[in-house]
């Protein structure tokens, strides 16, 4: 058995060696997420290798959390496994500050960096230097059922307030029929319920830390946010909401069990697709709600391509990053798959394109992205960057634990007051362990 394995391994090695001798091509290893848009990029990458025969591509496609663990470990330990990494707006500022990423200068002339939406570009830059190129951008917005809204005798404005959402949700709820007025994330995780709640807290004027990095969960604003959320979900949310993340809510909405759903703008193409959604022809869109404090409860996220600083294949890697995030790539997807499937939310020119403007959720997506400001996410001043996250390394761990406390409050295991107390205590503890204020 062992003998056999060795023989096989040797044969494979020999074959690999002979292949690499035959073609003096450079191989780029690309780590990416298993989202539809990235899988499509993989399919279309044949076009790139046709134009650049001296570059081979090797793909490592993983689920979001697994990918994050893998690339973070790799870059932190200088593993050098990957030449191009797909990372989010949370990682870019942290990694750029550590000097782990290659600056993306010297991109081709027709790349047009100025065409990138300012909010997204700001989130991927440090000192006005670009460290990652956005592949697609997203914000969050309200998706609602026009028929249920009508039945409740209400009309959704383009820019609703939380008060209106609360009223409408309760009016739409019919628990006996299995219809719930609003489906919101409740599953614990920094990218699950905390993404939604942090963005929502911004519109209530709450913040994670004050200018001295002191945790703020003991403030009235957080109490207002969490009380509003828990009451609303108890009155008008589906049962078991504390285990619902993006995918669970998507299923509920597509089944026609939700009146409203406030979540990622990329979900718009799934809920309006008649193949998957029972309510495809009844979906309307509105901006994420606010409280009249000048900030809306929507987030900002972009999956982006970045190159580790230690790479020896900088030129080829830059070539690929430029290709995958270029205007030409958008046109390539459109000609193959139609405009609705183009990676959204990165370039001004896409939203100026009359063809793309016909897509029903295009305008609302752009408005949502433009309404988010990573450097001034909430009403008061903050020492951090990030709309629905805080761009410091410790945030993932802290926010996941806080998310657990808030999920417990939603499930009715603890009171809102106690959940906030625990959140305050654990955040303070973790921040002092990490040595803040720095």
């Amino acid at each position: 058995m062992r003998m056999q394995k060795n023989v096989i391994a040797l044969t494979v090695a020999a074959m690999a060696a002979s292949v690499s001798l035959a073609a003096s091509a450079e191989t780029l290893t690309i780590a990416t997420v298993n989202n539809g848009d990235m899988v499509r990029m993989q399919k279309l990458s044949g076009e790139f290798t046709k134009a650049n025969p001296d570059i081979d591509l090797e793909w490592v496609t993983l689920e979001e959390n697994a990918l994050r663990q893998k690339v973070t470990t790799d870059i932190a330990t200088k593993g050098g496994q990957f030449d191009i990494m797909t990372i989010g707006t949370y990682e870019v500022p942290i990694w750029a500050k550590q000097g782990w990423l290659l600056e993306l200068d010297g991109l081709p002339d027709d790349y047009d960096t100025d065409d990138i939406l300012p909010g997204i570009r700001g989130g991927l830059s440090m000192d006005d230097k670009l460290f990652a190129a956005p592949f697609y951008g997203e914000s969050s917005m309200v998706m609602y059922r026009k028929d249920l809204m009508e039945k409740a005798g209400m009309e959704m404005p383009e820019d609703p307030t939380w008060e209106f959402i609360g009223k409408a949700a309760r009016a739409m709820t019919d628990k006996d029929a299995g219809t719930y007025g609003v489906c919101l994330r409740g599953k614990a995780g920094w990218g699950e319920n905390m993404a939604f709640l942090t963005a929502t807290a911004n519109s209530f004027g709450a913040r994670w830390f004050d200018m001295d990095w002191k945790a703020q969960f003991d403030t009235q604003q957080w109490a207002d946010t969490l009380n509003f959320y828990v009451d609303l979900m108890n009155d008008a949310g589906p049962p078991g909401a504390s285990s619902n993340g993006f995918n669970e809510n998507l299923t509920l909405f597509q089944n026609g069990q939700c009146g409203m759903w406030i979540d990622a703008t990329v979900a718009a193409s799934f809920v309006t697709n008649p193949d998957d959604s029972k309510v495809a022809d009844q979906v309307g869109f509105a901006l994420a709600p606010d409280n009249g404090l000048g900030k809306r409860g929507n987030w900002l996220w972009a999956w982006s391509l970045a190159i580790p600083a230690g790479t020896e294949k900088a030129e080829s890697a830059k070539k690929f990053v430029a290709w995958a995030t270029s205007k030409q790539y958008l046109e390539l997807v459109a000609s193959n798959e139609g405009w609705a499937n183009v990676p959204p939310g990165t370039r001004k020119s896409l939203y100026e394109n009359p063809e793309y403007q016909k897509v029903p959720f295009a305008a609302m997506t752009l408005k949502s992205i433009e309404a988010a400001d990573p450097t001034n996410p909430t009403v008061d001043e903050v020492p951090y960057v990030g709309v629905q996250f805080v761009a410091i390394p410790e945030f993932q761990g802290i926010a996941t634990s806080v998310g657990q406390q808030f999920a417990a409050a939603l499930a009715g295991q603890v009171s809102v007051e106690d959940a906030l107390k625990s959140a305050q205590a654990l955040t303070t503890r973790a921040m002092s362990k990490a040595g803040y204020p720095k």
């Binding site: 663990q69 973070t72 470990t73 932190a76 330990t77 942290i94 550590q98 299995g178 599953k187 614990a188 995780g189 589906p238 049962p239 078991g240 909401a241 504390s242 285990s243 299923t251 509920l252 089944n255 069990q257 390394p393 410790e394 993932q396 761990g397 996941t400 634990s401 998310g403 657990q404 406390q405 999920a407 417990a408 409050a409 939603l410 499930a411 009715g412 295991q413 603890v414 959940a419 625990s422 205590a425 654990l426 362990k433």
Partner: protein, 289 residues
Amino acid sequence: MSTTHSRTAGKAMLSPAVILLFLWMIVPLAMTLYFSFLHYNLLTPGTSFAGIANYQYFLTDPAFFEALGNTLAIVGGVLIITVVGGTLLALLLDQPMFGQGIVRLLFIAPFFVMPTVTALVWKNMFMNPTNGLFAWLANTLGATPIDFLGHHPLASIIMIVSWQWLPFATLILLTAMQSLDSEQIEAAEMDGASAVSRFFHIIVPHLARAGTVVILIQTIFLLSIFAEILVTTNGGPGYASTNIPYLVYMQSLLQFDVGGGSAGGIVAVVLANIVAIFLMRMVGKNLDL
């Protein structure tokens, strides 16, 4: 008859395997121990000596005692369900019946389903309070569906894990039952012993050794239950279903805190050993160890 000479030769022959196994265990353990005394977070460059700070933070974490309690609850709960249920099922499967082979195969099936898959199926198809089977049952009976994972997370985890391990216990106990001399049972029957007393006085003592094996092996695996928690509740709500392995995972992979995670790992090893020693004491006398 072995001479001193041949015994020495025997030991020499064995030594490569023994040394390899020892290294296999000791190198990772030593590295973990070393890391646990360092301030070592992947996201902040550089390491420095931390003394016992990592242990302090891990052991004073409000989540720690809850996780410890949950770990023991999972082990205890699943053991009781699988041993009692396994004995009763084994008794049932021991009866001659039509299609015995097929029935036994069906009983063993859950053991071959991957933990992550099991957890997903339970979470989405059984326990989901809007679309799950249990919710449908409750609705047909006119009751309110229970939100299992939200309101009874630990009991739900115990239920899922029990379902997975019940076949294992059943299988081992059934094998033991089949090795029981039928003449003993017949003799007892002739002496007028009722079915119940036959069960308690003949079958149960006969199963003691097999039961011990079941308890020992399961404990080792149940102390490190992880996939089921990750897929269903993520340790929540709050820390209601966080066990020690999940806590270590949170430290090392969600926070990239190698030092804290290693300290947690060492604590988990120590705890597992304490549990194992107690178990050996309690049930070990049934085995010739």
